[in-house]
Amino acid sequence: MLTIRGPVSGPASSPRVALRDLRKSFGSTRALDGVELEARAGEVHAVLGENGAGKSTLMKVLAGVVAPDAGSVTVDGAPWTPRGPADARARGLAMVHQELALCPHLDVAANVALGIEPARLGVVRGRDLERLVVDALGRAFGDRAVDPGVRVSELSVADRQLVEVARALATARAAGGALRVLVLDEPTSSLGAADVERLFALVRDLAAAGTTILYVSHFLEEVARIAGRFTVLRDGRTVGAGEVGATSMDAIVRMMAGRDLGEAFPRSARTPGEVILSARELGGAHLPLEATFELRRGEVLGIAGLVGAGRTELLRAIFGLDPVRRGEIRVGVALGPASPARRLAQGVGFASEDRKGEGLATSLSVADNLVLSHLGPSGFGMPRRAREAAARFIAQLGIKCAGPDQRVVELSGGNQQKVQIARLLHHDVDVLLLDEPTRGIDVASKAQIAELVDRLAARGKAVLLVSSWLPELLGMADRIAVMRRGRLGPARPADRCDEASLLREAVGV
């Protein structure tokens, strides 16, 4: 598939990044099992693959965090063997991490400059640091100014993602202006449309200036817009590569999954029953401003909207995590104050968009996570019972793991999400509040979660689904309401909506 260049081609025509038969094992797990990749200078190269395909290990090898067992990495024709992350950055490689590698207690400036603080004899030079930071922030945030002195913990997720982008840009300066390789790992997962556009413009500028961009994403629409070529990984191996423009998205998805996915969004016959969850003129402390809706059994109600419109806050208010200041929420016939414990007792479960932060106890096992909210009929924590239940859900939802005792932190994103949903199912809730259930997970897991939601709705469960991915909402939901600036619009049948109309309503034109 890839031919190794003969000695005729000098270093001038050698690719910027070339990976040959890269291998890396952790214990008995083969994370990388023969990765081939070639990207030229100034190219935006998409790296595609399901979660667990080996992308993150590959990025760690490039960043100098782990050393490969076998195979070679060359950058501009020279072997790439950084002694560590600092060395890799100094040699012109920057990275934007999907899991947002930021220090919450530090201010924006300190995060941008972390590891590359300009210093003389160990003393940080304030002027140089400020120049470095202000320039990088200006390019990452555009006219949406951000205060470099504000703590990162006070920023929205979207702004944090841009702080990471700014850090990558600052790396270029610290490396003497020569940013050779920029790795973007799901850089847009939390960004609103305007921020995505600015990021894309930045990426194009950098590419035009000769930087090679390795763009890791699950959003194939984005890949089609920004990338020139692509490489697909599956099970740690390169299974395909080519021009994005000359390959159909279907063909890429097939390479990623290794099979035809068929109908992406299954839809069984659903019969809406009685209203089980409703809100009337609901207002929170900050967001939402006003939300009125009714959710019936056997129905999936989708909520669209831009990042920051208040969708997450709506779910949190319903679940009793955020205070309710106005209006009322009714679960079945029950009114009254909400707390997560009370909601769970009423059969309402919440799957957070922040899986690692609040959705799961990641250092505990699959079984322990499953029984977090519901130990079992006896009320005692019986490890054997928990493991049995876990084994059942592992089989039922196809959770890829070593067994009920494996720690959740070791699972891929898609499988973590399945564990989170399994926790709600084990609790046997009637209403599922799902916040971005497919964010940052691979195509196959997305399809499985869509199938699962459909099955649940067909069985009479009610699902309130928040998603930023419109095809998913259109495919999964029965009705869709759009949230805009804290206000929830009227719900309309999904078959009377399309992406353009939802987007128009979300941005308010």
Binding site: G84, A86, A90, L102, C103, G115, I116, A119, V124
Partner: protein, 315 residues
């Protein structure tokens, strides 16, 4: 007003206000004794040991660690100094040996925390017991009497302008510590490691080196505090400073540091140390029983942290 804003954001502002109010209350209750300048000097002398150790502890806590071995390290240092003096070495050699011993212990703790990824609580808990035992063994389970060879003048009143030289040393350590934490790469990396270690690692911070350095520094400062302790004791006492580490940690926490790392300032910790000294001395002058003091001190630790949490939540 705009220039004042960053000042108002300082986390040690609350503890400073508490210190001022407490001082004012005791000064009003005992104007003839507590409010005298000579008492302020006495309190400064009594705070010196805790203050110096608190600077080291602040660095450790900011990096997300803890050092329980401070009290034992101080006692061990006094014993080493006394033993050296008794063996006929000069005061400089004795002092350097004491600081070197405490620093060595810090390096060992740091290496275990950084390289073997052991929990700092466990490592320094072990060091606390080991150092205490070593001090007792070295001193043959009794105090070592010796000629202090001028070291007693460090904290003796009257020799230097305003306050004794030992207090000036503490002030200098505080200033250097505060500046280092704020303006050096090392200081910034301490906050980064304490806030999110994984991030610091991928950003190229040499996390193990930072950790070893911070425990070594804390050990060295515990040694320096041990010199000051020897200056007041004038003997090597292996049973001295039991529980000092808790007082030091309390000072740091009152000063606004978070035990989970990433937060804390040297200025805040020094204010915390002074606040505890004011309370202790103040109660004595007013004539309150010792047990009330202890309850009050404990209450203040809890209230200080509770206020800090409330302040965080309101933002």
């Amino acid at each position: 007003m705009k220039r004042l804003r960053p000042l108002l954001r300082q986390p040690w502002l609350g503890p400073l206000a508490a210190l001022a109010v407490t001082y004012a209350i005791f000064a009003a209750l005992a104007p003839d004794t507590f409010a005298r300048a000579s008492n302020a000097v006495t309190m400064a002398r009594q705070t010196t040991v805790v203050a110096i150790a608190a600077v080291g502890m602040t660095l450790v806590i900011v990096s997300g660690g803890i050092d329980l071995s401070v009290g034992s390290a101080v006692a061990f240092t006094t014993v080493v100094i006394a033993a050296m003096l008794k063996a006929g070495f000069g005061p400089w050699v004795a002092v350097l040996a004491g600081v070197a011993a405490a620093t060595g212990s810090g390096v060992a703790c740091g290496a275990l925390v950084a390289r073997l990824r052991m929990a700092p609580f466990i490592v320094t808990l072990g060091a606390m017991s080991i150092l205490r035992g070593a001090a007792k063994g070295l001193a043959n389970e009794q105090k070592i009497d010796c000629d202090p060879r001028g070291l007693d003048a460090l904290l003796a009143p009257g020799s230097w302008p305003l306050v004794p030289p030992g207090v000036w040393v503490a002030v200098l350590v505080g200033v250097i510590g505060a500046l280092a934490l704020r303006y050096t790469r090392f200081g910034r990396h301490l906050y980064a490691v304490g806030s999110n270690e994984a991030t610091a690692l991928v950003c190229g911070v040499d996390v193990p080196r930072v950790k070893i350095a911070v425990y070594a520094l804390a050990g060295a400062l515990a040694g320096l505090a041990g010199i000051m302790e020897f200056s007041t004791l004038t003997v090597g006492d292996p049973t001295d400073s039991v529980g000092l580490e808790l007082e030091v940690i309390a000072a740091v926490v009152i000063g606004g540091a978070s035990l989970s790392g990433g937060e804390g300032t040297v200025v805040g910790s020094l204010i915390g140390a002074m606040l505890m000294a004011v309370i202790r001395t103040g109660f004595t002058f007013v004539g309150v029983h010792n047990w009330v003091q202890e309850i009050a001190t404990g209450g203040i630790i809890v209230v200080a942290v509770a206020l800090d949490r409330l302040r965080h939540r309101s933002r």
